[in-house]
């Protein structure tokens, strides 16, 4: 399959472009998404498809998501943008009480196949209200799907699937990853099914389970561990709901050790659910407790020197992986 090198931002743009080109039911709505104000993944699309299909809205997050739901009730496939994930609080009622539940509450009579694209600005010095990774909020709500791509290829493939998925999808983009380059299949319809984890690096000693920006740090940690003679497997979950439990269990059954990594706060983060599943299913196979590396439980600080202490980095992941390889006697604290 022919591939092209592009940034994640370009890959997301390609997915939106393909969806708009191939299906008249698709339209985009959000703040500053139309040209000339657009600077992110929607850049150029209003020029190509018109402002009827790439709709700039007032700063009204509840109405953006509510309007997406209404159009979806009538058969459209809206893609709403919540510019920065911290702003999604304004729209949570529409997401949680409406989009997520309409299929069930109506016995299947109405559905809300919307996609909500949103961006995490963590690590950019923007402070605590423009930086949060809130994916765990939405994992907790039956009816929602939660997707967090880490590579340009996955961003293209997963966004294409999300847009055409019959259920509401929270699609979490990461600003710090948007400039990263990678190979993406040139076929415009390229899609990756939701709910399939991907082993980005095979290994045999410990499984580093990550998603989103955590994958970058986990990959770096794996190469540092290799220098120490530790063969880490790097598993990219890609979607948190549906969660590919089988691939995760297959990996950890082999390596018997796991470290979960994410930019969301560690306490009650996605890693807590993953660690719980691993111990429920693999208690007898595990030779060490499942470790979690997540953001510290503080509002994200603005100063870079403080910020560096909050997010997971390769060093902390290496340390966590080493602990899973220590003899049990050394682990007692």
């Amino acid at each position: 399959m022919e591939e092209r090198e592009m940034t994640m931002r370009e890959a997301l743009n390609a997915a939106l472009d393909h969806a708009l080109a191939s299906d008249d039911r698709v339209f985009l709505l959000g703040e500053d998404i139309a040209d000339p104000g657009a600077s992110g993944p929607t850049k150029g699309l209003s020029t190509k498809y018109g402002t009827d299909r790439v709709l700039d809205t007032p700063i009204s997050e509840a109405a953006i998501v509510g309007a997406a739901i209404g159009a979806a009730l009538d058969g459209f496939l809206p893609v709403a943008e919540i510019m920065i994930m911290d702003f999604i609080g304004i729209a949570v009622d529409q997401i949680v009480n409406h989009a997520a539940k309409l299929r069930f509450m109506s016995g299947g009579r109405t559905t809300a196949p919307i996609t909500i694209r949103t961006q995490v600005y963590g690590g950019l010095g923007t402070g605590a209200t423009h930086s949060q990774s809130l994916e765990a909020w939405f994992m907790h709500i039956p009816g929602l799907k939660v997707i967090v791509p880490a590579t340009p290829r996955d961003a293209k493939g997963l966004l294409t699937s999300a847009i055409f998925d019959p259920d509401p999808c929270i699609f979490v983009e990461t600003i710090r990853l948007q400039g990263q380059r990678g190979l993406v299949p040139a076929e415009p319809s390229f899609a990756i099914p939701l709910g399939q984890a991907d082993i980005k690096r095979p290994g045999s000693d410990v499984t580093l389970i990550a998603y989103g920006r955590g994958l970058v740090e986990a990959t770096e940690a794996a190469s540092r561990l290799e220098d120490e003679g530790i063969d880490a497997e790097v598993l990219d979950l890609r979607t948190l709901v549906p969660l590919d439990v089988e691939t995760m269990l297959d990996s950890v059954r082999r390596t018997r050790r796991a470290v979960v990594v994410h930019d969301a706060v560690r306490f009650a983060g996605p890693g807590a659910e993953i660690a719980a599943i691993l111990q429920e299913e693999l208690f007898g196979d595990l030779v060490a407790p499942v470790r979690r590396v997540g953001a510290r439980f503080v509002p994200n600080p603005a100063s870079p020197s403080l910020d560096a202490q909050v997010y997971p980095d390769a060093g902390r992941i290496v340390a966590a992986a080493r602990r899973t390889l220590e003899p049990a006697s050394a682990r007692r604290e």
Binding site: P58, H98, F104, T110, L243
Partner: protein
């Protein structure tokens, strides 16, 4: 435009059916015969009947947890409503949604929400869809006075006006937001005055007079249908049974309740119909008897129906059941 006698008769039929359903549910819940939750619409029938008369079958309606009258007006079968309230398989959502969450797209009822103020944004999206498709369908969204204090209402009203969307915002101002009187929750005296802030017409009408509501509603619908954009239609009314069924209504002054009951839209419209010769007393008696019989039949059928299968828990969470976490 005057409302012809056939339409007046139809309004009365709808109002009577709404009242009969409310009365029967209230009696059943009070005696313990019916186990269900209910937010009563008694007193607000004239508004819902006007919506029922004026909306075309392809027009859409969104309502709230206090939606019994609206649902009946738009043609949701009584069996589906009662069945849903009682948690039966014959309910609109096979018992999975409950009283507050009835939708029936075949009747144009796209959403009932349990969240105050949540309907207008969804109405914006439905109207946007109609505009995109080039349809002259209108989306009416019904809510209470309390909803107009939410950010969600404000966002949606602004958006609907900004994009000239075919929406009618129908405020059923029953003078209480749950247990708090309207004058304690907003500085403006008239909800309709809020329309000025959005650049849309705001109209206040006597919500206990079905003919007055019809006249204003027709103008709003015509405006929306012809591309003129949304209207905020405030219908002043009262709820006779409080916020939820069983509400002791300690917060409602007795004189206010007595005055509201004296202005009950049902006997008032009945007098109008007989006084103007549109219907005879006998015809109206027949309408009332027929409504009671329909309610009894539907309720008996709902009570006799099976509860939903346990398997229902595994369906409709996601399109693909395998996507549901264990």
């Amino acid at each position: 435009m005057a409302t012809d006698s056939g339409s007046q008769r139809r309004l009365y039929e709808l109002m009577v059916l709404m009242k009969a359903a409310d009365d029967r549910l209230s009696k059943g819940i009070a005696t313990g015969e019916l186990l269900c939750v209910y937010w009563p619409s008694r007193g607000q029938e004239a508004i819902a009947a006007a919506l029922g008369l004026c909306l075309r079958p392809d027009d859409q309606l969104l309502t709230t947890y206090r939606g019994l009258h609206d649902l009946i007006g738009k043609g949701v079968p009584l069996l589906e409503i009662f069945g849903e309230m009682l948690g039966r398989q014959v309910g609109a959502s096979r018992g999975k949604g409950g009283t507050m969450h009835i939708a029936r797209p075949e009747s144009g009822v796209m959403l009932s929400t349990g969240i105050v103020g949540a309907g207008p944004p969804v109405a914006v999206g439905l109207a946007l869809a109609a505009k995109r498709r080039g349809l002259d369908r209108v989306t009416a969204v019904s809510f209470g006075d309390g909803a107009t204090n939410t950010g969600s209402f404000h966002e949606a009203a602004n958006m609907a006006a900004l994009w000239d969307l075919p929406v009618v915002l129908v405020c059923q101002n029953n003078q209480y937001a749950e247990m708090t009187p309207t004058e304690h929750t907003m500085k403006v005296e008239r909800v309709a005055d809020r329309a000025l802030a959005y650049g849309m017409p705001g109209v206040r009408v006597d919500g206990n007079d079905p003919l007055a509501v019809v006249a204003s509603l027709r103008q709003a619908l015509e405006r929306a249908r012809s591309g003129g954009g949304p209207t905020l239609l405030e219908c002043l009314t009262f709820r006779f049974r409080g916020h939820y069924f069983g509400d002791p209504m300690a917060y409602i002054p007795k004189e206010q309740l007595a005055a509201a009951q004296a202005a009950d839209p049902l006997p008032r419209f009945r007098s109008h119909l007989t006084g103007t010769g549109v219907c005879t007393e006998g015809e109206l008696d027949d309408i009332e008897a027929a409504a009671s019989a329909r309610v009894e039949d539907a309720l008996a059928a709902a009570l006799a129906a099976a509860p939903p299968s346990i398997d229902e828990l595994d369906s409709d969470v996601y399109g693909d059941p395998t996507h549901c976490p264990a």
